[in-house]
Amino acid sequence: MGLSAVSRTRPSLAPVLLLGALLLATLVLMSNATGDSDRFGALYSLLILINAVGLVIFLILIARNLRNLIRELRERAPGARLKLRMLTMTVGLAVLPVVIVYVFSVRFIGRGIDAWFDVRVDQALRDSLELSQNALELRMREALRTMEVLAAEQPGSGEGGLLAVGNSDLEALRRRAGAEEIALLDQAGSLLAASSTATEIVPDLPARPILLQLAQGRNYVGLDPTRGTDLYIRVAVNVTPLGVGAERRVLHGLFPIVSRLNDLARNVELALAKYTELVYLRDKLKLSFSMTLTLVLLFSLFLAIWFAFYSAERLSAPIRDLAMGTRSVAEGDYETILPVSSHDELGFLVSSFNTMTRRIARARDEVNAQHAYVETVLSKLSSGVLTLDQQEMLITANDSASHILGVSLAESLGRNLDQIAAQHRILRSFVEAIRPQLHDSRPDWQKEFAIFGDRRKVLLSRGTRLPGEDGQPTGHIIVFDDVTGLIQGQREAAWSEVARRLAHEIKNPLTPIQLSAERLRHKYLRKLPPDQTETLDRLTNTIIQQVETMKTMVNAFTEYARPPRIQAQPIDVNDLLLNVVELYRSAYPAVRIETAFDPELPLLPADGNRLRQVLNNLIANAIEALPESQEAVLRITTRHLHEQDSAFAEIRIEDNGTGISADILDNIFEPYVSNKKRGTGLGLAIVKKIVEEHGGMVNLENKAGAGAIATVRLPLHPVTEMTAQRSIA
């Protein structure tokens, strides 16, 4: 038996778990990156991107699941509503706590970040910065004044103006001012002379904006952090030339700051820079943390929802299978085998279902086998069997039923009795006979009735109600037999008995009556006066003749009632016929008797005397039927016949007489069927009896033109005991 397994596609867990792990990792890295930007800072944007893509993939997965679910719900697929319920439950359980935690976390982060900042700290930092600035300002102003004094002294003006200033002059100035480096530049910023404590050959020169400021006539002083780690005061002042047309010069100096002040100022600056950066980033940090948290939230939600889908699918799949399996069993398909996927209660349910369908399938097979068995028995039954439902619809009919009724009932299955009767006229009498019984209150009935088809048939029919599950009748079963043969036999047996009695009772007194009549005649014929002799003679003759007739009749009865005992010996039928025909030719010279014998006809095992009786009877009937006016012709033929595996001798006796009258045609072979004034009606009955004793058949029918034809077929093989026995019955 081919068992079809229900196929099932299950969502794959591994890729989703992998994706989940990846997202989790990026989220961890992201939370680190938000906190300190050095370690994973460079990856931050990439992490966000990966996360967003991952979440979108999750969203697509969920959307696909959701679409499937909606479709299933719309199609009312089994298990869909259960899935929905499990889904809403799981999602509800997961979403609410996660959202609550999220809301609180976001608030806490906001508060936490705000707690970093304090107005007093802010103010303190700004104050210390201002303090540093003031301290430095003092030094700067000092340096500026020193440089302005130096510039006013016109360095090197004594000996040939500014052009003649050499590095040695500047060295002296530098020492006086206490600067680390002093340089003299022309108005375009090119170096003219320089002096420095440092070993560097290239002096540090002011940038373009400073030169621009000087060109506008404003001296410059400012802090410069560009030289290593220490702060310097950079001063640049214009040196106004004395002579007319002389070019403006720039005196540039770098002053170091006391190391302690330098350190403090730098620390303050660093701390403030860090603090202001933090203040500036405050909202962005909050947003950033919230975003990370939101991503975590979405990740958790999506994962939970996806898992809800996954587990709902896993849980509902066997239930859906069960539902579909039950449906297919209900539709009559017992071949469904469901996959057993788990070892829990559901798995147990599924395997129980499988066992159940297997059992049902086996039971159905058994029923089918029994059905086939009953069908075989019914088809081999010689009785006709019909079943009808409550609406008199034909449910089943076996072969014998069709055979007995003479119509093919296979085409009439599923029709009711009225339709069948309308279809087959032959069945009208049958339907009329059983219809009242079906409506009868008695459950069982029996009836004998005749139907008229190609020939008259007597049916013995029995019927009963078919019991249903709850005892209510669900239909009828009708069994019937063709008892025509049986009745025929019974009738023949009865007639034989009558004939035997008649012969016995009547034959005995006949001889004394005849003898008495003859003695009467001898004794009184001469004694009586002549006018009465004639009367006596006529009366006694009548008695004697009538008694003679009665004797023949009684003999015929005796013949009919005689026990069947044939003494078979090889007989040449042609010879026998020739003998009989000669007799008739001399007796009826007016009748022309034609013969056509088959010379090939072999010897036949038969009782010669009986066979002669058969021929006598048939020929006598033919001659009696011949008309007196016309030319009477009798034609007798023999043939050697081969049919299938049996061989026959056929004798045909044709006449051109009156033919058989229609009213007796059907039962012409029955005893006492005659339309002759003095006929016994036993002739053909005896013929039939003898022929059947020989295992043969006899048939009498009207010819197309005029007259009748009698056909006798006798088997050429020896008569078996069986056929002899049956003939007795």
Binding site: T34, S45, A265, Y280, L287
Partner: protein, 173 residues
């Protein structure tokens, strides 16, 4: 908080006015003239202590009629602007060379950044004399150099998305 650079605020913008190459000591140098416009948001961030970096990408390509252009050399420069609260000056640092420059006002920063001179690019040996090369340069504000919390917003803000188009010219030894 400004998310997407609203309609009223003008967006930051960089456009390359001119770019030239010059060869000094067998090294190809780049002179760059830029027009820079800063969104107040950026200046505020700068004054709050956020360092801002500009990346300059230069590519030398050899055009090929039969195939994609071949890349011959590629250079990178990076300038960082930061604010010094103590001296209330701006510090402009060339990250590649380490050159630092203090500038008293933001206008000075714009001027200094707008006239970049003698940025070393590639050695002359990379190029064949007489052959034509295609030079391309782009300047942009590097969002990835900002502190992590600022980046996501900066990507979506017109104030921070400062990037010039590629400026192309022919170059021949």
């Amino acid at each position: 908080m400004l998310l997407f650079g609203g309609q009223g605020v003008h967006a930051g913008n960089i456009s390359i006015h001119d770019a030239r190459t010059a060869i000094i000591n067998d090294i190809v140098h780049l002179d760059l003239d830029l027009d820079l416009e800063f969104n107040p948001d950026v200046i505020e961030a700068l004054r709050s202590g956020i360092a801002i970096e500009f990346a300059i990408d230069i590519e030398f390509n050899r055009p090929r009629w039969y195939w994609l252009n071949a890349e011959v050399a590629r250079g990178k420069h990076r300038f960082r602007i930061s604010f010094l609260p103590l001296s209330e000056q701006y510090l402009l640092t060339n990250v590649v060379t380490g050159d630092r420059q203090t500038l008293p006002s933001f206008d000075d920063v714009i001027t200094a950044l707008g006239t970049l001179r003698s940025l070393p690019l590639a050695e002359v040996s990379n190029f064949k004399a007489g052959r034509k090369y295609r030079c391309a340069v782009q300047v942009r504000l590097d969002i990835e150099a900002l502190p992590a919390p600022m980046r996501p917003l900066a990507y979506f803000s017109r104030a921070w998305r400062m990037a010039s188009d590629w400026f192309e010219w022919d170059f021949q030894l």
